[in-house]
């Protein structure tokens, strides 16, 4: 059973650049959520995609955008990178039809460093 896969695992960018992170959800899951985890902090909700639409959004600026594809995979895009965007970006998948049990299955994350 394939778990949540994310790519790339590590990347380094400079201020002002743009980055795209990718996620494939766990087999059978249809909902993808993205989280930002700064060093020493808990994950912070960025947004969630279901049926190829953004369904919920956390307190993040419009520089953060995303997309979900028909095969349920997802991308997170961050424009005009700031030093403060350096973090571990986590993708989590769930199954909407299973109801709100609160269970999320996380990938291992993409570690972004902005110089």
């Amino acid at each position: 059973d394939a778990g949540v896969t994310q790519s790339p695992t590590h990347l380094i960018k400079t201020r002002g650049q743009q980055v795209t992170l990718r996620c494939s959800p766990k087999s059978g899951h249809d909902t993808v959520s993205w989280y930002q985890q700064a060093l020493g902090q808990g994950p912070q909700f960025i947004f969630q995609y279901y049926e190829e639409e953004e369904r919920q959004r956390g307190n993040f600026p419009d520089r953060f955008s995303g997309h979900q594809f028909p095969n349920y995979s997802s991308e997170l895009n961050v424009n005009a990178l700031l030093l403060g965007d350096s973090a571990l970006y986590l993708c989590a998948s769930s199954l909407k039809g299973a109801g709100n049990t609160g269970e999320l299955f996380f990938g291992e994350g993409s570690r972004l460093t902005v110089l």
Binding site: V4, S33, G40, Q41, G42, F45, G102, F106
Partner: protein
């Protein structure tokens, strides 16, 4: 003030000890309560989830929820060095789907052989 507060630790215990990890929260809409374990440089892994108040046991792990006090706990019995990790509590309201969880900042646990 954060919606979810978690004792930051770090917490260091000898092997075999009973560990107690705790979170408090302020949003009374939270109905689902989860505990995740995160090893260094890895993604969080779901350990246990509980709906509303009560206890839930799974092997060496017991989760407790006291909604009247807005307080949740995770107990680890017979702790092992492999339990050394950061433990994150997370919570979700009933009226939203599973994606938007609110996390604590984690407690780092070290179990010494």
């Amino acid at each position: 003030q954060k919606e979810v507060e978690q004792d930051p630790g770090p917490l260091s215990v000898p092997e075999g000890a009973i560990v107690s990890l705790n979170c408090t929260y302020s949003n009374s809409a939270f109905q689902y309560f989860m505990w995740y374990r995160q090893y260094s440089r890895k993604g969080p892994e779901l350990l246990m989830y509980t709906y509303s108040s009560g206890n839930k046991e799974d092997g060496r792990f017991t989760a407790q929820v006291d909604k009247s006090s807005k307080y949740i706990s995770l107990f680890i019995r017979d702790s092992q060095p492999s339990d050394s990790a950061t433990y994150l509590c997370a919570m979700t309201p009933l009226d939203t789907n599973a994606g938007k969880s609110t996390f604590g900042d984690g407690t780092t646990l070290t179990v010494k052989p």
